[in-house]
């Protein structure tokens, strides 16, 4: 990694440069994050300046425009090849505390798309609430934190960004303050989150104590000769794994997820289980490939973290799937399914080996899976948000016959369920396929086998939703379906279309993800 003086403003080929025009200045690489921050601040401002005039719709539009801008910017940078080795390599800012590369941009795109869907859908979810301003600004600011988390390349910025995600999340989960479940979930999330943060920051301090640096590249360099401090660093690495497990809802710090996703307002569940999880994976991918990369250095501290993640992946996906299979409430089932998917995504870290020929492929596939997951899981939770808004009920039985009264949304939900199960012709098929195939090629056929088995099992509980919606006879509960919330409907349909379109359009997704991941191993 090159040591770059942050103050030198030299034009970089890495930024999208129009022919004839001057290349963009370096700080614009942070554009997506800045767009989200700006939207978050504007929301607060708007809410304060026009406390009586502002409407829910206006706020939703501001939030949506901000996150769409972030999506467009990150998409543009990705398409232009910003931060790729071919165009000059990663852009580092603030004394290497921030790195903008393919990984950062890819995850920013995931976060921004999920945020867009969530804030649009929230317009209808929050119609009866008096203070939507805080909600939107918290969502958008948390999204900014996630985007920052994906770009952070110093343990200090990582921790700050992590807290920037966590603090708004606690408030969002407890947003329905009249609702016992929501408040309880908020408290639970906060307590587990606080403990995890403490463990995580303790892990950082141990690594810092052993290596003398917070920058990932320096940490990696120092890992070579730690001497007596190797044990300290090893404990630090393990503690940091616990922090990532919390953010990604993986075993062993997964137990908060069912309560929190169930109790939180459904759009917030969508946001946390898709975007927050993805951001957690982004930083885990970066930290473990850059700072603790496998090879001579890490074995010096005696931690084969790939093996740790392999065990965690197997346990996480199996536990998530088996628990999901016995749920009676749809939202809780989705919460466990979200744990299961964290297990699949963990394959991206677990199937890495020091000399593996397909390291980039398998990690890229995991990124692509999180991308598709962003749409299908967000869509599924937003469908639940719609059902919650109608007041139909929470169990599988309550969903009986929804297809007769809300066919379009039900088609969308069917798409999400089958895609989550990994059935063609939906995006989830390809993302799972490349993930498992990558693991096989990298020598981890047993991980792929466990993943495939779990995936087959998952069809059971996903198809229960489909069966309830379409095949079971309608009940009286459906009388509650009395409205067509436009924005919520729109968000669900857009997510469904994206889930379908990503199958024929999977090429760019997987190719971008693979290039970004391969660059980390370069």
């Amino acid at each position: 990694m090159s040591v770059q003086q942050p103050s030198t403003v030299e034009p970089l080929a890495a930024l999208p440069a129009q022919t004839g025009a001057a290349p963009l200045p370096e700080w614009t690489a942070l554009g997506p994050v800045l767009a989200l921050v700006a939207a978050g601040l504007l929301l607060l401002l708007w809410d304060t300046v026009f406390p009586n005039r502002r409407t829910n719709t206006e706020l939703s539009v501001i939030a949506a425009v901000g996150s769409l801008a972030a999506l467009a910017l990150s998409g543009w940078y990705l398409a232009a090849g910003t931060g790729r080795p071919a165009t000059g390599g990663a852009i580092t800012l603030f004394a290497e505390a921030i790195t903008i590369d393919g990984l950062a941009l890819f995850f920013t795109a995931i976060v921004a798309s999920v945020t867009t869907l969530v804030v649009v859908a929230s317009r209808d979810y929050l119609t009866d609430h008096e203070t939507p301003g805080e909600f939107y600004s918290l969502v958008v600011l948390a999204a900014a934190g996630m985007a920052l988390l994906a770009s952070a390349s110093s343990l200090a910025t990582i921790f700050v960004a992590l807290e920037m995600v966590s603090l708004p999340s606690y408030a969002l989960v407890a947003y329905l303050k009249e609702n016992r479940g929501s408040v309880e979930a908020g408290l639970k999330y906060f307590l587990v989150g606080a403990v995890s943060s403490a463990i995580f920051v303790f892990g950082i301090s141990l690594v810092y104590a052993a290596t003398g640096s917070l920058l990932l590249s320096d940490v990696a360099a120092a890992f070579g000769d730690l001497g007596d401090l190797a044990g300290v660093a090893g404990v630090g690495v393990v503690m940091m794994i616990a922090g990532f497990a919390f953010k990604t809802a993986s075993v062993p710090v997964h137990f908060w997820a069912p309560e929190v996703y169930e109790g939180a307002p459904a759009p917030v569940s969508a946001f946390l289980s898709s975007a927050s999880k993805a951001a957690g994976f982004a930083v885990a991918f970066r930290v473990f490939t850059e700072a603790f990369h496998l090879g001579g250095e890490v074995t010096a501290v005696g931690i084969d973290w790939a093996l740790v993640f392999a065990v965690l992946a197997v346990v996480t996906m199996t536990l998530g799937n088996f628990a999901a299979a016995v749920q009676t409430e749809v939202k809780r089932m989705l919460a466990y399914s979200s744990i299961g998917h964290a297990g699949y995504a963990l394959i991206g870290l677990a199937a890495i080996s020091a000399g593996g020929s397909h390291n980039g492929a398998v990690m890229g596939a995991s990124m692509a899976h999180l991308f598709v997951y962003g749409f299908m899981n967000t869509g599924a939770f937003l469908f639940i948000a719609m059902v919650e808004r109608w007041g139909v009920g929470r169990t599988f039985e309550d969903y009986a016959g929804l297809g007769t009264v809300a066919p379009m949304a039900s088609v969308a939900m069917t798409v999400f369920m089958f895609s989550l199960a990994g059935l063609p012709p939906f995006g989830g098929f390809f993302s799972k396929y490349f993930l498992f195939a990558g693991a096989v090629f990298n020598g981890f056929w047993w991980l792929a086998a466990v993943g495939a088995l779990n995936s087959v099992l998952s069809l059971y509980y996903y198809s229960r939703v489909v069966k309830a919606i379409w095949i079971e006879d309608p009940t009286d509960a459906l009388a509650a379906v009395d409205s067509r919330p436009t924005a919520l409907y729109g968000a669900v349909i857009v997510a469904a279309v994206a889930t379908v379109v990503v199958l024929p359009g999977f090429g760019p997704v997987i190719e971008t993800a693979e290039a970004a991941a391969t660059a980390l191993f370069g």
């Binding site: 397909h358 492929a361 890229g364 007769t404 066919p407 089958f418 059935l423 063609p424 012709p425 098929f429 390809f430 490349f434 195939a437 990558g438 096989v440 090629f441 056929w445 495939a452 087959v456 069809l459 198809s463 069966k467 379409w470 095949i471 079971e472 199958l503 024929p504 999977f506 090429g507 997987i510 190719e511 693979e514």
Partner: protein, 507 residues
């Protein structure tokens, strides 16, 4: 680009019908489904392929575009037709409009969704037969399951939920087994695409290597067995046929027509493409057990049909029996055997479609399918009954009807087949007993329901079947007779496409 246009048009039609009001969704679906039918006739008229698509033959209407490049492999959008797939595309496009018309009477609930699903399924069926890249093929293959699951589960009979989930679980589990088998095969080959022709030719060139330390012979055999097991469920063959009667009995008539007419052929088509064309050596090695399974399917299926009281169950089990002939023809590895099997796929598609539709017409009028509940229907609904009788004779293999041509080719081919250590004449002779049983149960059932004094144990007035119900039957009967009189309409191109398969198989 004609194939893509057909598939895309059918998808768009499905969307349009899905959004159309229930009152005229059926009419709209029928009108729209005529376009792919005419399109398939156009494909037939302009067909200029030769040889087998997998062994390097000249493809008709070919498109090959890179789709996803990752991990050293390229997934392609690769479609094209040869003499094996074209007849099946024509069969699909011909059956769908008729199935739609046959739905006009019985389907009175959520009609736009029903017809939308039928068209959605048609688009995917065309895709299954046209796709020549594994992933494109697999996506279509799986996408066929979803609409059928809903067609059975939503519009089916009293036990529809059970039947739908059984169908879904069986076929999906089978797909997974097959998928893993194919992946093991491809990963052991030095290929860079999932194109079926490239895979086939690489295997033929003896390039099958080892993977994860497993020797090439084992991989070839395991892949063959996995794929065979996966496709056998779809066909279905005894002993994995048990989903079929449930699915058929509960499915609404139009879904049964397409299930028996086209969906079962997906299984035999895939067997021909994957197992018998790609891995002929393994097929020859396993010829005895495969032929034995085929004969068991023929005899056991027919015996099961003999024992049924439900007309639809009789036809359903007889499909198991007929598909046994197809497998027997495929394993024979002679031009008449494989070609006859392919021809029989089309013939059986038409005949079983006719039978299911005719049973549906009777059910619409009587509201019962039990043989014991009725007799002497010939008096009251003569046209429908006589067409049903004609169809039954086609099923029994009456000369000058498509069933005769198909079965005759199969028997000629399998009798003279060199595989299975010279045991094929024995297997053929055993399988021919199936015909006797078929004649037995069909004649027996007809005698009791259609002829004799009129009696009906339900509370419905029995009138003549309306013309819109008998016309599709008549159209099918005409097609059956035309193909029976002039089998060369299809057999000529089929023969050309199966010759390379046969040459790969005999060794």
């Amino acid at each position: 680009m004609i194939i893509e246009a057909l598939i895309a048009f059918t998808f768009v039609s499905a969307m349009a019908v899905l959004l159309a009001p229930d009152e005229w969704a059926g009419r709209l679906a029928f009108a729209l489904s005529l376009v792919p039918f005419l399109g398939s006739l156009f494909l037939w008229a302009r067909f200029d392929g030769s040889g087998n698509a997998l062994t390097g033959g000249e493809l008709a209407f070919e498109t090959q575009i890179d789709w996803i490049e990752v991990g050293g492999y390229t997934i392609q959008w690769f479609v094209g037709l040869d003499g094996i797939s074209l007849p099946l595309v024509v069969l699909t496009a011909f059956l769908v409009p008729l199935a739609i018309v046959s739905a006009w009477t019985p389907i009175d609930d959520r009609q736009s969704q029903f017809y939308g699903l039928i068209l959605f399924m048609e688009a995917n069926l065309i895709g299954v037969f046209a796709a020549l890249d594994f992933f494109a093929w697999f996506v279509f293959w799986e996408a066929v399951l979803l609409p059928m699951y809903f067609l059975i589960g939503v519009w089916g009979g009293p036990r529809r939920k059970y039947a739908a989930i059984k169908f879904f679980v069986y076929t999906n589990a089978a797909s997974l087994v097959m998928f893993l088998g194919f992946m093991a095969l491809v990963f052991s080959l030095p290929v860079e695409t999932f194109g079926l022709p490239e895979v086939t030719q690489s295997i033929a060139a003896g390039e099958l290597g080892s993977f994860y330390g497993i020797p090439a012979e084992t991989i070839g055999l395991v892949a063959f067995v996995a794929m065979f097991a996966g496709f056998a469920v779809k066909v279905p063959m005894v002993p994995v046929h048990t989903w079929l009667p449930d699915a058929h009995v509960e499915a609404p008539t139009p879904a049964s027509v397409l299930l028996a007419g086209v969906l079962l052929k997906m299984g035999t088509y895939a067997l021909l493409r994957f197992n018998f064309t790609m891995l002929p050596d393994q097929a020859s090695t396993l010829a005895v057990p495969i032929a034995a399974l085929a004969v068991i399917s023929v005899i056991y299926g027919a015996m099961l049909a003999l024992a049924q009281q439900d007309l639809k169950r009789i036809v359903a089990y007889s499909s198991v029996s007929s598909m046994g002939y197809v497998i027997l023809g495929l394993i024979a590895f002679t031009v008449y055997g494989v070609g006859g099997a392919t021809f029989q796929m089309v013939a059986h598609g038409l005949i079983s479609g006719l039978m299911f539709m005719a049973v549906g017409v009777i059910y619409n009028a009587t509201h019962t399918r039990m043989v014991t509940d009725m007799s002497g229907l010939a008096d009251r609904m003569p046209v429908a009954v006589w067409i049903l009788v004609a169809g039954a004779f086609a099923y029994m293999g009456l000369p000058l009807m498509a069933g005769f041509a198909g079965e005759f080719y199969v028997f000629v081919g399998s009798f003279g087949s060199p595989v299975a250590n010279g045991l094929m004449p024995v297997f053929t002779a055993l399988a021919m007993f199936g015909i006797v049983i078929v004649a037995g149960y069909l004649l027996f059932a007809m005698q009791r329901t259609l002829f004799g004094p009129f009696r009906l144990d339900t509370d419905y007035e029995l009138g003549r079947a309306p013309r819109r119900e008998t016309l599709p039957l008549a159209a099918l009967l005409v097609a059956i007779i035309v193909l029976g009189v002039a089998p060369d309409l299809f057999f000529e191109m089929i023969r050309e496409a199966v010759v390379p398969v046969v040459e790969g198989g005999v060794n």
